[in-house]
Assembly symmetry: none
Homo-oligomer: 412 residues x 2
């Protein structure tokens, strides 16, 4: 077979890293034992990918938009709406969505922990939050995995909301919680910022006295005593993936911005029973569902979040071990026929930075029609010597369509 | 000498390929014995070239426009006019040219073979075709190599033609011949499409009873019983190569779109006695004429078509053997002084796909001033490890001008 009929597109979130002294200057990926991925490398070609552009530090949202063949500069309206769609919320025109974190905020209003100790589930707090009323806005809160959630503002008759407001989540700990400020002089921005502050203040009061938090404090766990929001935006409009690329597409991913991006692009979101969006997720289930979906879909997007979580936590041993667990689950991908397997990342999350970086991410393409190169191990430096060279995110879907022999000729 | 005074620019049409199982996973170029090209590789640097862009599948026309330093998105008006100029036809403003194939069409109107069995020469059919009259249009047919030809429509006084019409050649066999349809609602498009259908219908009747076809049928060869056209367009306007790059330029190429592109750019087209545009072309003559032209010209474009023909036919052994014959002819280029030798392709034509692909093509630059790298063999994967990295077609002429020390400084 000289070309691939299907594509399994795997994003290991935040996979790329920097040299770790503890690993003798290797990265978690380079040091990990990955026999199954190496078997794919044997059959494929590697390269490095600047997900948006050289030196552009992607968010998970903009990174995924770019990886999936869309221009984030043209399409991105903020993280909030993508997270909301990822949690199954429908957004009508004019409605505003925020990404929300449950956080531990102390009595002086200082953010002690941006993720409330990575609380296991904040679902029991949802009902209290949905009892909050703010004049002129219908507020809706939906809890996601762990500390994550989305806040939706639906303007009441005659009111207008604006996304020109500041983030309350300043991505910092040990600092006082910020107030939401309007970013322009419009009455809509002033009204929206005020509504956010009202909502968060009321939420704080309800959360403080919530039984779940009392139990957490008793168990010496960080309580979820505040909500911090960011990424306010309206729903973006994506040309449907099927129309744009001619591929029937499905996503295998936990809730979150990845699922939101894929959902807005028209991917079918396949159900998972045991996904957690953390290092304890059921990798076998994900790999099994993804492999199975290849019989029905042309393009299957498999997203695994844990790599990024370990990066943010600075846990390089955990990141390496999780990569090895991923590799074990990927034994299911060793004998896919007629399928192009792509493995890459939406950005680097170097453990010693505990945050996203713009470092180029490793890229592997393996399957029929690929000019396999001499690389033998999937790693940042190995990929830098690979046959694909250094590509940009915008090159990736065209390169995939070419391997699938689905590229229209330009000229004749 | 630290820079090149002349450039020999060699395009091996459709050279790039994908791994072939029969060759143990190597490509025809990788498996070919090419001692003379290897001697150039020893002195040069290699890379991979995305002729138009990553994942963009070039036609021969758009590919050559890009390789020669022009932007096809700005310049391309269709294949027809380039082919026409390549056959020495002058196109005035308002005149429309089509690329035409002689095809074998059966009595049910099904295209059995798009190339009439790669008919040796259709020249004897020309006179019959030039007897056809269509109201409002002066029709002119010129046969090219093998099954190839061009059809020119010259509007009669007061009439206007449009290129907004569909192709009759659908690039498929075993399907019914298409009618030409207008692609917009203008009266010019309707008139032009109708004129095309009239012409092709009359051509079909004349070809069916032509003595050449009766002889072909008797000899069990595919008859040229129909004409299929595509790539309708008016002549494009290119800034002359001499003005744009300051180089006196000549082309050594058989008739066809390559010659048309070079002709419109102002290249002198050097005469060849024995070129055929196939695998049986006189490679020695071409190499001799090209090497000789370097005494008079700064930039000599040598085009060899056969590699692409073998690719379209899926004949990987033939492609490999032809590459080896090319290499033998290139012994003439082993002792060129002060000359930069560039070898590349306008696109890949993987034998197992029998069509163009967007796979990056190999690139070699050898001569004085080049930072030679460690690559030893000209091949797709070797070039992927080369010192030039992965470039785009638009980078090539600037890179050549730099090696020739002819680049104006930007800044001071």
């Amino acid at each position: 077979m000289s070309f691939a009929k299907k594509t399994l597109f795997i994003v290991l979130d935040g996979l790329g890293d920097r040299p770790i002294q503890y690993f003798g200057g290797l990265t978690p990926l380079e040091v990990a034992r990955t026999p199954n991925i190496s078997a794919l490398v044997e059959k494929g070609a590697c390269g490095l990918l600047d997900v948006i552009g050289v030196g552009v530090r992607p968010g998970s949202d903009t990174g995924h938009i770019s990886l999936l063949g869309y221009d984030p500069h043209a399409q991105y309206t903020g993280r909030g709406p993508l997270e909301a769609v990822g949690l199954g919320v429908h957004l009508a025109d004019g409605e505003l969505a925020f990404r929300a974190n449950f956080a531990t905020v102390n009595s002086q209003g200082v953010v002690v922990d941006r993720r409330a100790g990575r609380i296991d589930s904040a679902k029991p707090l949802e009902a209290a939050l949905n009892s909050i009323n703010v004049e002129g806005v219908k507020c809706h809160f939906k809890a996601g995995a762990q500390h994550r959630g989305v806040l939706i503002f639906r303007p009441q008759k005659g009111m207008l909301l604006s996304d020109k407001i500041s983030n309350v989540d300043s991505n910092a700990q040990g600092v006082k919680i910020s107030l939401c400020r309007p970013l322009d002089k419009s009455p809509e921005a002033a009204f929206t910022a005020d509504a956010v502050n009202q909502y968060l203040s009321k939420a704080s009061k309800l959360l403080l006295k919530h039984p779940l938090n009392k139990t957490r404090v008793k168990n010496k766990l960080m309580p979820a005593t505040g909500i911090i929001v960011r990424g306010a935006g309206v729903a973006p409009h994506f040309e449907q993936f099927k129309e744009k690329f001619g591929l029937r597409a499905a996503a295998v991913s936990h809730t979150g911005v990845y699922t939101g991006v894929a959902g807005l692009m028209g991917f079918d979101i396949l159900p998972l029973k045991n996904a957690t969006g953390r290092g304890d997720t059921d990798l076998d289930e994900k790999a099994r569902v993804a492999a199975g979906a290849l019989s029905k879909y042309d393009f299957v997007f498999l997203h695994i979040k844990g790599t990024d979580v370990f990066g943010h936590d600075g846990d390089y041993v955990g990141k390496r071990n999780f990569i090895e667990r991923i590799d074990t689950a990927f034994s299911k991908f060793s004998d896919l026929n007629d399928t192009l397997v792509v493995i890459t990342a939406d950005h680097s999350t170097p453990c010693e930075m505990k945050n996203h970086s713009a470092d180029a991410v490793p890229l592997l393409m393996a399957g029929p029609g690929v000019r396999k190169d001499a690389i033998r191990k999937f790693g940042e430096r190995d990929c830098g010597r690979g046959g694909l060279g250094r590509l940009k995110g915008a090159d990736l879907m065209p390169e995939i369509l070419n391997i699938m022999a689905r590229t229209p000729m330009y000229g004749s």
